[in-house]
């Protein structure tokens, strides 16, 4: 069994309440940080831990914190990105729903390190019921003196609020999130300036993912060095993986970074193998944006080494033969799955979610969806594959925010690894949805 630091108590009855959470060691990091450490010491531990942003980009959290501008007399903010919307990802929801105090504890400890007197947890609007759970937990924390004035009798005071969104994937991009938090359209800002200098209402702001903030608690408790011992190389600690698709046991798993992909898919501890005795065809390993890989490349790198669940191993081989850990949204597809149709659902998604600010994404995402629709209608030509390739290449890297890449990469990867499937449909003028029967079986059971 791998070590668990974030959701080890998820099955404890009533762990969502403050009483039970504290009885199981909760809020120890707040006690430790506020009473025995300076804010800089907390930041140092986070730096030493090697923790990387768990939202998808994998940027070193300690480094991000150290960029925070600290001008005199200007408030600083910590904003938690709980706008989890990357297809395939549902780990933050799990954490907030089951152990909301783990997030609030992290918010307090992190805010102490950053010198933030106020923090906001921006939760996607669709997770309204989750926001209720987090709000209740915040109320409990206020009542127990863990939030508000002079927390635990120290000089540190802090207020934490929940803000719900209105339904927009783009608000997971940190500057779009800040715009949304200011009551505006979720249009990503043009950077620089970065939020660390001018974020919420123009004030220095750190935006971190739910899991990142929750991970600060075990880091403070065990020390950054100890945390860094878990994992492989620059992929330290544990990571929540959202597993879905054609696996026997979908759900959220906390893994030590460094286990093999094969172990993750096939062992009973995790996904338990592919459903109905089918063979694995392909995997989207880190949320819809990351390149899809065929089974042979997800299990082993091009060099023939076992692929590990780490930032580095998953990206080994670049985009030619590798992918990314991303948000940890792990979607496995069995041998009957149509890669083209799955790609269509992604393309439709990005078209739907494009904010419309910059032209390549606004116009390109819809165009790609329309072309992919032709494949499903059986009206596509072989030249449409080339056209798709060209369009994605003209979106990638040309947009204000990473949604451009997120929309382009899945298309590029599907064509790179499964071009024949596209060509077969174009040649036969027929799309056969082989897996339809399996799907129907599941919902009529």
């Amino acid at each position: 069994m791998g070590r668990k630091l974030l959701i080890h108590n998820d099955k404890v009855p009533n762990i969502h309440t403050l009483e039970v959470y504290r009885a199981h060691g909760g809020y120890a990091s707040v006690e430790k940080a506020l009473k025995t450490m300076t804010p800089d010491q907390v930041t140092d531990e986070v730096k030493k831990s090697g923790l990387r942003g768990r939202g998808g980009a994998g940027f070193p959290t300690g480094l991000k914190w150290s960029f925070l501008a600290k001008p005199e007399g200007v408030p600083r903010y910590l904003v938690c990105n709980a706008d989890e919307s990357e297809p395939g990802t549902f780990k933050d929801r799990y954490l907030m729903e089951h152990i909301p105090h783990a997030l609030i504890e992290g918010m307090i400890t992190s805010s102490y390190a950053l010198g933030a007197k106020t923090s906001y947890i921006y939760i996607r609007g669709e997770y309204f019921y989750v926001a209720r759970i987090v709000e209740n937990a915040i109320r409990e924390a206020y009542a127990a003196g863990l939030l508000g004035e002079n927390i635990l009798g120290t000089n540190f005071s802090h207020d934490c609020y929940v803000q719900v969104g209105g339904g927009a994937y783009i608000c997971g991009e940190e500057t779009a999130l800040l715009e949304s938090l200011e009551g505006k359209r979720g249009n990503p800002r043009i950077k620089p300036p970065f939020p660390a200098v001018a974020g919420l209402w123009g004030c220095p702001t750190v935006v971190n993912n739910v899991e990142t903030i929750a991970a600060v608690c075990p880091i403070v408790n065990m020390g950054g060095d100890e945390y860094a011992k878990i994992g492989v190389g620059k992929s330290t600690g544990t990571k929540l993986i959202s597993a879905s698709g054609h696996i026997n046991k979908p759900g959220v798993y906390e893994i030590e970074l460094g286990i093999t992909v094969e172990d993750f898919i096939y062992s009973e501890e995790y996904c338990g193998g592919i459903r109905n005795g089918k063979k694995l065809k392909a995997v989207v390993a880190g949320g819809s944006s990351v390149p899809i890989l065929p089974a042979e490349l997800i299990l082993k790198t091009a060099k023939g080494e076992p692929r590990l669940m780490t930032y580095e191993s998953l990206s080994d081989g670049g985009f030619q033969t590798g992918t990314m850990l991303g948000s940890g949204g792990f979607i496995a597809m069995d041998e009957d799955t149509s890669i083209v149709k799955n790609l269509f659902t992604f393309a439709r998604f990005y078209h739907h979610e494009s904010c419309g600010q910059c032209s390549p994404c606004r116009e390109g995402t819809g165009w790609m969806e329309k072309i992919l629709k032709k494949f499903l209608n059986g009206t596509a030509n072989e030249s449409d594959v080339e056209l798709l390739w060209d369009i994605q290449s003209k979106i990638e890297g040309k947009t204000i925010c990473p949604l451009g890449e997120a929309a382009a990469w899945p298309v590029a990867a599907a064509i790179r690894h499964f071009k024949q499937e596209f060509l077969d449909i174009a040649k036969s003028k027929k799309f056969i949805d082989v897996s339809h029967y399996n799907r129907l079986n599941k919902i009529t059971a």
Partner: protein
Amino acid sequence: MGSQVHGTQEFNKSKRAEIKFSEEAMAIVKGIVSHYPEGKQKSALLPVLHVAQAEFGGWLSPEVMDYVAEVLKIKPIEVFEVASFYTMYNLKPVGKCVLEVCQTSSCWLNGAEDIVKYIEKKLNIKVGETTKDGMFTLKTAECLGSCGTAPMLQCGASYHENLTYAKVDTILETYKAEGKLRSYTDLDYKNTL
């Protein structure tokens, strides 16, 4: 394309005059506004629009948006810009229960398409339409973060997961029997249904 409300929305002054948050809703709105520094009350716009949508029949009419602008001391266009950007705000009337079936990747892999078709047939409406009795509106949605429990649908605050035809039957029957407006802000979410 062309929008549903391109410049030609009707604005009814007498309807507008009748719109007012209940005391209870106003208290919630004030609570939300208090989360932000002085002068930053525009930040409350998204959550306040949710309160308004629940309060005024499940959708945001031009009159309601105008009222929200007044409450938050911002310009009506600022409300319209925001309300039309986010998918959770309805700018047209909807049924009491809006069923939003997720259709992205994992949900597709697990049968979302057939769930949509099943509901269409059962309610005798197409996606985007409302039943004649005003009870249900059917929509498709993009990833709702329920991939491990796919397929799923959202109705108001409730997440209905691991859907089967049988489960859909129960959900529809229960909501119909209740006959009440379902909102994202509901406290009595029915995830276990």
